[in-house]
Amino acid sequence: MIAPRTIRSLKRGLSRNALAKVGIAIVVVVLFVAIFAPFVAPDRPGTQNLNESRQPPIGFEKATTQEVPVKENGSVVFEDGQIVTENRTVYENSSWDHPLGTDGNGRDILSRLIYGARVSLLVGFFGTGLAMLVGVTVGLTAGYYRGKVDDVLMRSADVMLAFPSIVLAIALIGVLQDALEQSIPDPFVQTGVAPAFRSALGLPTGMPESTTLPGTIIVVVALVNWVWFARVARGEALSLREESYVKAARALGANDASIMFRHVLPNAITPILVLGTIQIAAIILLESALSFLGFSSANISWGFDIALGRQYQSTAWWISAMPGLAIVITVIGLNLVGDWLRDALDPGIEGEGGV
């Protein structure tokens, strides 16, 4: 399906473009960390420990002066009916147990980011896959049949585009609510491989046995973003349907569905895949916005954790800052890979990007 010529131009693009290598490295690391979360997370992402609440990240220890009661032999000292106090320097300690600090409930932020990557990537990949499936089917049908079919399908696509994606997504969530939420068991934890690995290394055990799969969010982002795939697929189908091999297949009596999916689609795959890479980034951004607004049922998610940190914005900036950095780095990685694919393969496509 991928021609040797395509591979050559991809390699050429990679050797010229150092940023593309950075992008690939970021994506590989995030994927690795998300898949092997129960092995690499330093702590349990959901377990609260109020004694370690709001611990700063390594390198951000802060000394503050506080008025504390003077104690003699473990009890407070009174003078004229008042508690005697003194000014003392209090350190907000960081520790290597929590390299990125802890949140308001004393949960390890790094572990939450690692588990949050699972949610973001699941929505990113499944959402893009579903949008691609719907969009490509609609686009190929419209471009292949042209005429009235094309008019009806693409005019409905125009109607979808009249809603900003986040607005349509919010409205659709209002309709679907959490009807499609799923939780998928974590095979590494279920089989006992991860717990054995962790106890061998002396890491805390008791990792979550399942991961939330926010089905509603996946369906919603797909319903919002299929239009971009439909536009690209339609454009390709419009030109490919005039190719001689398509005419030959039709003359041989192949049916329309087989012509569309066996002859037209394989030749239109490059721009669709390039758009797919860019769309994963866009959908991850959309997911994080929806969880930030409180519309996702996933209880560990980058966007949701940013929202959780807002109540500590004057005392513990890192609670909101860290998940946002995770989003920025991941999306930069995906955008760099997308840029590389687009420059190397040059399919000339457009697509909505940001949130």
Partner: protein, 349 residues
Amino acid sequence: MSLARFLIKRLLQGVFVVWGVVTIVFGLRVIAPGDPANVLLPPDVGPEVRQQVIADLGLDQPLYVQYWEFVSGIALGVPEGLFNIATGQPVGGLGLGTSLTTGTSVASRVGRSLPATLELAIMATVVAVVIAIPLGVISATNRYSVPDYGATLFSLAGISTPNFWLGVMLIIVLAVQLDLFPTSQRAIGIPGVVDLLVSGQLVAAAEGFRTWLWYITLPAITLGTYFTALITRLTRSGMLDELGKTYVRASRAKGLPDALVRYKHVLRNTLIPIITVVGLQLGTLIGGAVITEFVFDWPGLGQVLINSINSRDWPMVQGSLIVIAVGFVVVNIVVDTLYTLVNPRVGFD
């Protein structure tokens, strides 16, 4: 094709899209779970009251009748005969119906929140254009220099940063820690400033404008950053494309000053595709405004939408969706028309 025919064609398309929008918005309410009567009524009312409320809302009618009422109400502004929960009096409206939670007209609520959203969107666009175009030009004319790398890095980071997170960070650093800006809300709007101006209170108006600017700065930066990054990127690549064209070499060979070629010819040709992309991205701008309003407690349409989704106030959800989508369609028509007027190379077809 003449301008008039172009406009008529574009308007007809717009009407079609608006009809589609209205249909989708109607459909969303129909398939949404939950009974609107539950939003209106306390849980312990008897079945007769419930029946009466459902009949008052017109929800006992067949779907095609409800659909017709909905579409004709929006198109013609027929009062809908709903009642105000507080006063028990029927409430009319501009065809968008009555809020289930407050009993007031959806149209007036949406209308009151519109200026806040428009102010935010316009200021974000101003921020973006004022920063991005010079940055892109500097970047393209000094290729592979430090400013070029800086601008490229900035634009990559800018298109990859979720604006709500940027907003939260700006609040933490500039509002909470450094205390330079307010953390949220909108103390006064442009309509308020205009009122002061009209009533002749010039000092108060100036003070009001300053306050407005002070409050809108962080939200505008939050919403504008993605666009600043995007336009910087487009200006740089567009300018590089144009600088490589033969007319540039010809003008230089002819002895035209470099600056004249760069800023008069090259920049102007670069701006044309930028207008198209900015037009296409207006949806992202409005969508971004929804989240920015949430972060800064900015009283615009986005807040109305989010609050009404959370309280299942469907008439309000429908009203804000329709206004957002129709606004988007109208702006798109305007941008398309301007684009064809500005660019002599594109015909009206």
